[in-house]
């Protein structure tokens, strides 16, 4: 307790949010891996919180302490530039690709699920189309057995990714009231898109799945199908803290003063 009766260790939630906004202003524009951004956020927030508590102990006024802590911390734009200068080339390119192709789990708050799905569909369409083109131009004939075995796995992996992305996209979209409908809608749109792409690949005879679909392949599909929800749950469980923390950071409105 300081002389004004404020306990610096018991943080006011509004002040905590303001400190996070200051950190997020510096970190959100960074072009690097999401995990790295998460580490930087944690470290900067730890430092800013420590100087805020130091100032609060000194002056006893929460708002004055926040203002001095921000001033001691420095301008966030300059900090972003300095941090960006230290980001190696590969994470910078990866972040750029991520922005272009939106491989990220995030869905922008203004984007609706339909437009988001269409965007994702176009991405996949061009991606598969490009692979198709390379194989046709090179006159290659993929080994049918390998293709047959791998296809269900690839498809299931893609579906798992779709479900994950749809789930977190919906969470980040911040629409708690209809969140389950949104997840179902996103997933259905995307599964439809995947089905269409798969059909295209079959008709172009890139995947002669039904010619070689025997008991072994069927077993593989069943096992993969059983494994899918298990893997999905493990991923969700292992990353639950980071996912929820990232959602919290992503929801901060940086236009606030």
């Amino acid at each position: 307790m300081n002389p004004n009766g404020i306990n610096p260790d018991a943080m006011n939630p509004e002040i905590e949010r303001q400190l996070k906004i200051t950190v997020e202003r510096a970190v959100r524009p960074l072009k690097t891996w999401d995990n790295r951004k998460y580490e930087i956020r944690r470290e900067l927030l730890g430092h800013l919180t420590a100087i805020y508590q130091e100032e609060l102990t000194r002056c006893g006024d929460e708002h004055a302490a926040l203002s001095v802590a921000r001033s001691r911390f420095g301008a966030t734009e300059e900090l972003t530039q300095e941090l960006q200068r230290g980001v190696p080339r590969i994470p910078r390119w990866a972040a750029w690709l991520n922005e272009v192709f939106r491989i990220d789990v995030a869905i922008s708050p203004r984007q609706n699920a339909w437009r988001w799905t269409m965007f994702w569909f176009c991405e996949l369409f061009f991606l598969f189309g490009a692979c198709d083109l390379v194989v046709i131009l090179k006159g290659m004939n993929p080994w049918p057995m390998i293709v047959t075995l791998l296809t269900p796995l690839v498809m299931l992996t893609l579906i798992a990714y779709v479900v994950l992305e749809g789930t977190f996209g919906a969470i980040l979209n911040g629409s708690e009231d209809r969140i389950y409908w949104r997840i179902i809608r996103c997933t259905c749109y995307k599964l439809g898109a995947l089905g269409f792409i798969y059909k295209l690949l079959l008709s172009s005879q890139m995947i002669p799945l039904w010619e070689r679909f025997g008991a072994r392949e069927a077993l593989l599909v069943v096992l993969s199908t059983v494994m899918l929800p298990v893997v999905f749950l493990i991923v969700m469980w292992a990353g639950r803290k980071e996912f929820s923390s990232q959602v919290e950071w992503a929801r901060l409105d940086l236009s606030e003063e």
């Binding site: 930087i40 900067l44 927030l45 730890g46 420590a50 001691r72 300059e78 900090l79 190696p88």
Partner: protein
């Protein structure tokens, strides 16, 4: 005496960090306090700007960071504690020689009376 801040410090922060880390490992706030103490209150470093320097040094392999599992009595995220590597010791020694040479040459010019 006027405080030393901004552009005057630019380019020297990394060497100064290496130098204070030679005295022993430390986390961000501790490094900053050591810098301020060593600067006799005349160093005015924006505290956030320490971290880009730390990350650059880490990327260059001059320092390594480990996460302190249980920061004694502190709330919030675990802190990262930085430590000089062998390469960092070598780089510091080289930077000191360069600095001595710089002060000798530039000091001889700037400090000379007409």
């Amino acid at each position: 005496m006027k405080p030393i801040a901004g552009d005057l410090l630019r380019g020297h922060v990394e060497t100064m960090v290496l130098s204070v880390l030679q005295r022993g490992e430390g986390h961000g706030l501790e490094i900053l306090r050591r810098l301020e103490d060593a600067g006799c209150g005349l160093l005015r470093l924006k505290e956030g700007s320490l971290y880009p320097a730390l990350y650059r040094l880490e990327a260059a392999g001059l320092i390594i960071a480990r996460t302190e599992k249980d920061p004694a009595g502190k709330r919030g995220a675990p802190r990262r504690v930085y430590e000089l590597t062998k390469k960092g010791h070598k780089a510091l020694s080289q930077a000191r020689n360069e600095w001595t040479e710089f002060v000798r040459v530039v000091g001889g010019i700037v400090g000379a009376t007409a």
